[in-house]
Each structure stands twice: as C-alpha cells, then as structure tokens.
C-alpha cells in the first residue's frame, strides 16, 4: 500500500514538473491557415533570453509564424519569464510540433492547422444561440406553445425540423464547467478558452486585455471576404455571447472596452440592449469611465440609430445597410414582461422590439449584400431567466427564440445557400417532471405535483394563435425543477409580479432565501445544495444539442467540442482555401 502511494506521488510530481511551462495556443489546438493568432510561452521561472529556444517542427518559431519573438524577462506580477509572438500565422495545413526550452524546462504541444475547402457550400450563415438552452427548455416551449393530446405534441417547434445534429461538449480549458463567454468564444474562434474569457487564451498576467489573442469569425470574415456581419441579442450587446463575435479579453466584464471592440470590427447590423456602455460618462445612465460617445461615433460611420421599436421599423428602410439599434440601457425585458405582464423594467422602456422583429430587420438588411453574410442571433434571456429558476419566463423566451429561427428557415427557403445552426452554449440543471395541479385536494403544494400517470396534461391555451400561451398561471401547469439551487422559497407557481428573485444577500454576504416569497400560499423553504456564495441556479456540464440545416450542415454529427463547430462554419464558407503554388 505504502509503495503504491509513493509511486503515485512520484508520478504526480513528474506531471507537475512537465506542466510548469505553458504554451498558448494549448496542446491539440485547431487553427485555420492564415488566421493570425498570438503565441505565448510562460516559463515557470526567470530564464535567460539567450537560453530560450522556441521551435515549430524544428524550425525557429519566428520563421514559421512570420513575426518576431519578444522576450519578457519578468512578467508583471510574476517572478518568471515569457516569450510572445503577436499575430503570427501559419500558411500550410498540417500537424505542428511546438517545442519550448529554457533553463531546464521543456514543453511540447502540437497544433492542428487546417485549410478549408476551395469552394464554398454556403453563402450565408445564421447562427442561432439559445443561451443556456437545455432539452427541458425545448420540451417546455413545445408543450406551452403547441399543446399535447394523448401524448403526442399538437405541433412542432421550428427547431424540431432541423435535419442535422450533434452533441456538443462545452467544458472550459480551466474547468469542467463553463460560462457563456468561454463557450461562445470557442464557437466563434475555433479555440477553447477559460471561463470568462473571449477571443483569447487566458494567461497568468493580471491585465485582462493583454492575453494571447485568437481571431474571431467576424475578424476572419473581414480579413478574407466582403460579407456583411450582424449581431443581434436581447441582452446587453456587450454581454458574453454577442461580445464573442468580435472581442478579445480575459474578462467578459470589460464591457466598456467590448463596446470599443464592436466599433473596431463594425458589424453592419448591431441590435440589442446595453446602451449604457455607448454613452459618454457625463450622460446620466452611462456606465463608461470616459467621454467616448459611441452612438455618435457609429452615426458618423454611416449607421442609422434606432432607440426603440418604432425607430427600428423606420430604420428598416435605410439604404446604408448599417443599423445600430440599442433598446435598453441594460438587458432587454423578456417576452412575458414586455408583451403580456408589463412588468420588469417595461415601464421605463415601454417600446422595446422583440427578438423576432430584430431578426427580421437584420436579415432584411444583411441580405442586401450580394457577397452574403454572417448573422448571430442570441436568445439571451433563456439563460437569464433560468438562473433565478423562473421557468415560465425561460420557456416563453424559448418560444420567442424559436419564432426567430422560423424567420431564418423562411429566409433559407428563398436563399438555399444559407447554413442555419441552432445551439445552446451550455445547459442548466433543469427538468420537467410532470404537472402542478391546483385542483388536487389540500393546501400543501407538493401534494399537487403530479408525476407519471397522476400528471395528466397541462391546460395551457393559445386561443389567439400567437404561439404563446394566453396565460402561464393556468390551473394545471408544467412542474419544472432545478437540481441545484441556493436557499429559496419554492412557490410551485408562475411569478406574475416580475422575474423571480430566489435569494438575497445578507450582512455576511451569504445568499439567503428571499423573504418576499415566504407568504405565497403553499410556499416552502428549500435549503440550498450549493455554497452560500451562490445567488442562483448554475450552468450544467451536460452536453448541449446542436441542430442545423442547409449546405455544410452534414458536418454536424456525433459528439463534437464547441471549438469544432467553428471549423464547420468556415468550411461551409470556404474562407481559407489552401494556396496552390
């Protein structure tokens, strides 16, 4: 026994010594030919410049990457050296062995560099991202929207008819779990990264803006094509998912900088919330720390600005093809509040468009470009309503997201050269287990939860045929629960007064059950199964389902990493064919 432990310790030591040096891009990275990326080697200690050797397939790295190597004797805040090659690129596909040596440390990683086919299968790509969209969200949306008779759905969601699919692994480079930044960044660059990071490998220095960069799809399209680019989200447009289309930062919270990165790339259509980061600091409502006025800067670049639904409708007719639409200072309100209950912040911003209108305007504008386009549409609040376990709002958001997908499919009918991808960036630990039936006897709500044969079917109605349930607080509704939660009061009921706020922070900075829901009839205290520092339900590590249709979609199959999805997109568009010489 003792010798076994000793052997194990020795193995562990060896592993950690070998891991002391880190090379970015990490081992098994997949890189498109010609795509600029930063290479960084972080040594474990201070080494001398003249003893550093960095080779790629036995040749000096600077020769292969076409850029000079910078040596940093002591990195800021660390007692160790690093070498850095900014914006190098590799022209030929193949497997590349990268070897770094210095001061007795050696590290080897291998990169897979690929070319795309020479001819494009698709002209346009529409990438629909349902933030946090899990299987339960789709099931819930289908049942709420279409209904069910004798166990068969009365109708299908648009996404139900996408003919290709894959399971997607979403883990980060630093954790089995993920966030939206990490995952969307992998979709949009082809490189996995760390939680909170966008368009960079997460290095060890404190500065969030100096990390080794990789190219985003928007930058790749700007570099290699004349296609138009659109970014649409119901979140702040600087939020992780839309930000991943254009940005490079270790910290998704760098929203003021991300607004600047949007301006650098200038997607032709930008629609969403988050105007606070576009306003100069002297404007009340601004969240900037400088006087940059991005609304003015975009206008000066020929963008038509829209601040609400009416202005967005007017902007439809713009002939510049460039629209900046910002409809909320923060995240936009969800469909249930915006169109039905008039809760949340709808009182302050009463005229917000929805995801369907935004998608429609974006498609109309982008389709004007004969070269084609890339459009990213995010159903952001599926996630934002899942964290506080507001399943009714999350399901209604999924219905709205599905309606936007319907517009994409409609567009593809007349433009068959369009690849449509629908996926989530991570899942939630949520499942539907039956119904909650108010008519069941007694006052205890748990006794009204029907499982198996006792569940029957929910009694949502859609009399006006708009695809949304006429009301969510029906007497027999879906019983949906999260498998992870902070302390909270379970009410077994929809939250009609505004989005659910399950927990609040106390003086000890711990999250405790929000007393606001204690007096709801039948509410029960549920002791959390997560640390008290956590304020809501969290992302699940479970695979995400990706579905797709159109030219190139046949490449989605089986199990794939999120970083593999990028390659399918660029292959379909053939943006990096191998040079013939």
């Amino acid at each position: 026994m003792r010798s076994f432990i000793a052997a194990l310790t020795l193995t562990t030591c060896l592993v950690s010594v070998a891991d002391a040096t880190t090379i970015y891009p990490l081992d098994r990275a997949t890189i498109m030919i010609g795509s600029p990326f930063d290479t960084k080697v972080e040594f474990d200690k201070v080494v001398k410049a003249d003893e550093v050797k960095l080779t790629i397939n036995g040749e000096p790295a600077e020769k292969v990457l076409g850029k000079d190597v910078q040596f940093v004797e002591k990195e800021q805040g660390v007692d160790a050296s690093a070498v850095l090659i900014r914006a190098g690129a590799i022209a030929k596909p193949g497997t590349y062995e990268v070897k770094a040596t210095a001061g007795g440390e050696t590290k080897t990683v291998s990169w897979h560099v690929y070319a795309t086919p020479t001819s494009a299968k698709a002209k346009n790509v529409i990438f629909f991202l349902g933030d946090g969209m899990s299987v339960a969200h789709r099931t819930g949306a289908r049942i709420m929207s279409k209904g069910m008779t004798e166990g068969k759905a009365n109708g299908r969601l648009n996404m139900d008819d996408l003919d290709r699919m894959a399971f997607i692994g979403t883990s980060a480079t630093n954790a089995v779990a993920t966030d939206s930044a990490n995952t969307m960044s992998a979709y949009m660059t082809g490189h996995k990264t760390a939680v909170n990071a966008l368009g960079v490998y997460a290095d060890r220095t404190k500065n969030s803006l100096d990390d080794p960069k990789v190219e985003t799809i928007a930058e790749a399209l700007r570099r290699t094509t004349k296609k138009s680019i659109g970014v649409v989200s119901t979140a702040e447009i600087e939020d992780a998912t839309p930000a991943a289309v254009v940005s490079h930062t270790r910290a998704r919270a760098d929203k003021a900088e991300i607004a600047g990165m949007l301006f650098d790339v200038k997607p032709d259509v930008i629609l969403g919330g988050g105007s606070a980061y576009f306003l100069p600091k002297s404007t009340v409502g601004s969240k900037r720390k400088d006087e940059k006025d991005y609304v003015k800067m975009f206008r000066d670049e020929g963008y038509t600005f829209a601040g609400d639904k009416t202005e967005l409708d007017a902007a439809r007719g713009t002939n510049t093809g460039k629209i900046l639409g910002l409809f909320h200072t923060g995240n936009m309100d969800v469909t249930l509040d915006r169109d039905f209950l008039k809760k949340g912040t709808v009182g302050k911003f009463p005229n917000q468009p929805g995801l369907v209108q935004m998608t429609s305007v974006a498609l109309e504008q982008l389709a004007k470009n004969p070269e084609g386009f890339f459009l990213m549409v995010e159903g952001a609040s599926i996630d934002k309503m899942s964290h506080p376990m507001d399943w009714d709002r999350a399901f209604v958001e999924t219905i709205e997201f599905d309606k936007a997908i319907g517009l994409g499919l409609e567009f593809a009918k007349t433009h068959p050269d369009t690849l449509i991808v629908v996926t989530g960036d991570h899942t939630h630990g949520v499942s539907i287990i039956g119904t909650v039936d108010d008519e069941k006897p007694g006052t205890e709500m748990r006794e009204k939860v029907g499982t198996y044969a006792d569940a029957g079917f929910p009694n949502y109605e859609d009399k006006d045929g708009d695809g949304y349930p006429d009301k969510v607080d029906v007497t027999r509704r879906l019983a949906t629960f999260s498998n992870n939660y902070p302390d909270y009061y379970e009410t077994f009921r929809p939250k009609l007064d505004g989005p659910f706020e399950p927990s609040v922070q106390n003086e000890k900075k711990e999250y405790v059950a929000n007393e606001k829901y204690k007096s709801v009839p039948g509410a029960v205290f549920r002791e959390g199964n997560m640390p008290r520092s956590v304020d809501s339900e969290v992302h699940a590590v479970d695979d995400v389902v990706l579905q797709a249709t159109g030219p190139g979609a046949e490449e989605f199959k089986g199990y794939m990493e999120e970083s593999d999805v990028y390659r399918v997109l660029v292959d379909a568009l053939a943006i990096a064919p191998q040079a013939t010489n």
């Binding site: 919270a253 105007s275 606070a276 306003l279 600091k281 002297s282 404007t283 009340v284 409502g285 601004s286 969240k287 720390k289 609304v295 601040g307 609400d308 910002l326 409809f327 909320h328 200072t329 302050k348 911003f349 609040v504 922070q505 106390n506 003086e507 900075k509």
Partner: protein, 155 residues
C-alpha cells in the same frame, strides 16, 4: 452621546419632521426648511440615450434638500459616505467593483466619518444637493447625484 443621537436631535429640532407638523403658514416662514425631494422626482426623461435630471432636481442644485430612503449596507463599518436607496437593499448597489450607477440611488457625503449601525430602516437625510458627475478621489466611485455636508436620522 453618540453621533447618531446628535444627528437625530438636530433633525427633530429643525428639519422635515417639524415641517410636517407645523401649519402651512409657519412652514412658509421657516426659510431654512430644506425642500423635500422624492426618488420618483429625480429624472424627467428616461431613454436609451440617457437619463435627464428633472427640472426640480436642476432647480434644487446647490440648495438644502431632505430625502427619505434606506441606507444600503455600507462598504466599511466606518466611512464618510453611504448610499441612499429607494427600497431596502441587501447589498450596496453602487459599491461593487464595476461600480455601475443605478438610477434609484443618491450618494450621501457626511461631514465626517462615522460608524454605521443602520439596518434597513427608513431614514431622512438633509444636506446640500450636488448635481452632475463627480469621481470620489478616495474610492474612485463615480456618482451622478450627491447630498453633501449631510446629516441623517430616523424618518
């Protein structure tokens, strides 16, 4: 006697409490009476291109005002400023690292640092209203509306 009770006594002697109990005539005569300002009177226009302070706020700039609200849990036990919020808050909406400015708070600067024991109870703050952006050199927090030279007590 601690600072809290001193503040409270001063409020009782002059301030809004007196104004609320005296007849209208006497109130008009008391020129030093601070103008009462409510949270829902702060902004005149709200849009994605920014918020505008109301005419009342603009007119009261550099004048004595009294505002009622709740003390957000302060950053430190002792400080010369705190955040007055419209509804009780479990954490300071402004004291986080990214220090975003929410539109339903007013920052209160006291004459000198003091210890806070105030839990979420309605308080009334009196002081001089300052309107416009100002970055606190000590904390780096950017505020849009402040009451300076302030004192407070139970409302």
């Amino acid at each position: 006697m601690n600072r809290w009770s001193l503040t409270r006594r001063r409020l009782l002697a002059t301030g809004a409490l007196a104004a609320a109990t005296l007849p209208a005539l006497a109130r008009a005569a008391a020129a030093a009476t601070p103008a009462r300002l409510d949270f829902d009177e702060l902004y005149g226009k709200i849009s994605v291109l920014g918020l505008e302070f109301s005419e009342k706020v603009k007119a009261l700039a550099q004048k004595k005002v009294a505002m009622r609200g709740f003390m957000a849990p302060p950053l430190k036990a002792e400080a010369d400023f705190f955040v007055l919020t419209e509804i009780p808050m479990s954490l300071c909406p402004f004291c986080s690292s990214d220090a975003d400015w929410p539109d339903n708070i007013v920052v209160i600067y006291l004459d000198k640092a003091q210890t806070f024991e105030q839990a979420n109870a309605l308080i009334e703050v009196t002081g001089t209203l300052e309107v416009g952006s100002w970055t606190d050199p000590n904390t780096g927090f950017l505020s849009r509306l402040r009451i300076v030279g302030a004192s407070f007590g139970a409302a």
